[in-house]
Symmetry: C2
Subunit: 270 residues, 2 copies
DNA sequence: CATTATATGAAAAGAAGTTTCACATTTCAA
DNA sequence: TTGAAATGTGAAACTTCTTTTCATATAATG
């Protein structure tokens, strides 16, 4: 791409919303190149004509706008409905970010470890105990042998009992909680396959894991992250659960009934 | 609006995506009117020119598309990543539906009852115990006097102890669980203010409530709804929590430090 | 250093969109 | 019912926008 074309591209990428409204003349004037160059440029970019190009820009701009406005900081004059809206919006953004960070490879390895485990144990303390409890509750509905107890000492004892045939799902927002790390060291010593769900990939916890899933929030600074990562953690567990059930049932049953099977296994009347 | 203009409008509304890509000539041909008429028509619609009109169409088309594709049914050949994506998408849709069902009035009444309660107790059994636990965990961080115990018998005893000065948040997906209803009857007898989070507005549970919040999923038929309503329940609780903290701190502190305060109060290192 | 390839803008050519104007249709009052 | 005024419409002129051509400049290559 040549220098002049870069100027145009930069302008378009910087504020697609504005450029998408411009005529080719205006854009030419704004970027100090001729209309001819722009016309050629958009064709090089595989758009049929300038109009198609601006349409595409408008689309990306529309797709980006929610991102820009996706830091719903609670402001002074917010009504209750606004606070609720922002809370929901923030949850949605967290889910999106978490989803984007997932990859097929990790999922495949995690599911393999889960369905081959003699025992599947959940570990989580403090705020993360809720996610661990949810994971336990979900996987109870499968044929797997699952274990979870909210008490730290019992979790530690459970970790000590486990072997290389087992699988542990460890949840911790920060990845720095001492008790959680103690459990992980015990698990590592016993050669247990560890699947970690945390928000920080650099933590010691993430290092020890065979597979790490990141529960992200798209705005970390001004917020109590722990609150929003919970929802991401739950949905990661949910994904693992769905995949596991589909895989387990596929061993024994024709494919067509599998999805229905998931539903039956997960009916909840509470 | 004249007859010819209606033809154009109809065409544009029926498939905005297609029309937004058309030139004025093509649209003229497609709707059997002259280009002049269309040009006048878009001006009557308060668009500066035809180009602006097509842009607007493209926008509405873009806004409509995600709605159409928002029922991510798990299909036979789905890869693991696809299963995960659909799970996340479904969670997002559930949150959106739940958010849309909220209204300022209910929120205001709920927050009032919460901050004036001498004791705030959470009730939830089975799958909903997770949401109840999360609510308890969140509100522990406030100055309120909060109570929750996973055991049914203890929940029932707790309900028996409560008075008209207290507030109960009862969570149940179906709203039909017998034990939960037993608790609610006890609460009602004692005149306790009841806030209900459930997925079915018609349930007996919802009838007994002072305020009902609906945790919705936008596709009910083919799914295990309980799983997705959990995330909606959590975010409703989260909203209530945020509103409560902001309200409580506003009694004693200047407004500017409030938001910061929320963050401090909710830091979570687990 | 000459030669070829590539990039660029001015201007011509071609499309797209708008306005004008003449004619048709409808509305409304007599 | 009828004629005048108002409104709606398309063809064509006109304007504006976009693309292509062509001559020139710049960079790359042997």
């Amino acid at each position: 791409m040549s220098r002049t074309e870069k100027k145009v591209a930069q302008l378009a990428l910087d504020n697609p919303a504005v450029v998408s409204e411009m005529t080719i003349k205006e854009l030419a004037a704004a970027s100090n190149v001729s209309t001819a160059t722009i016309s050629r440029f958009v064709k090089r970019m595989n758009y049929a004509n300038y109009r198609e190009f601006t349409m595409a820009l408008a689309h990306t701009a529309a797709a980006m706008t929610p991102q820009q406005s996706s830091f719903p900081e609670l402001a002074e004059g917010d009504s209750l409905a606004t606070i609720a809206n922002k809370t929901f919006r923030f949850s949605v953004n967290s889910l999106r970010a978490t989803n984007d960070a997932l990859n097929e490879d990790d999922l495949a390895r995690a599911v393999l470890k889960i369905i081959n485990a003699k025992t599947l144990a959940f570990f989580g303390l403090g705020g993360s105990s809720i996610a661990a409890l949810d994971g336990y509750h979900k996987f109870l509905r499968t044929s797997l042998n699952v274990v979870y107890h909210p008490d730290y000492d019992i979790q530690l004892m459970q970790a000590a009992k486990m072997t290389a045939d087992d699988c542990a799902i460890v949840i911790s927002h920060s990845g720095r909680n001492h008790e959680t790390l103690q459990i992980v060291r015990e698990l590592t010593r016993n050669g247990v396959a560890i699947i970690v769900i945390t928000s920080y990939s650099g933590s010691e916890l993430a290092q020890a894991a065979a597979v790490t899933f990141l529960s992200l929030t798209d705005e970390v600074k001004y917020r109590s992250e722990g609150m929003y990562s919970l929802i991401s953690q739950l949905t990661i567990l949910d994904s693992l659960f769905m995949m596991t059930v589909l895989r387990i049932s596929s061993r024994t049953q024709p494919v067509l009934t599998r999805v229905r099977d998931v539903i039956e296994h997960t009916r909840d009347e509470s």
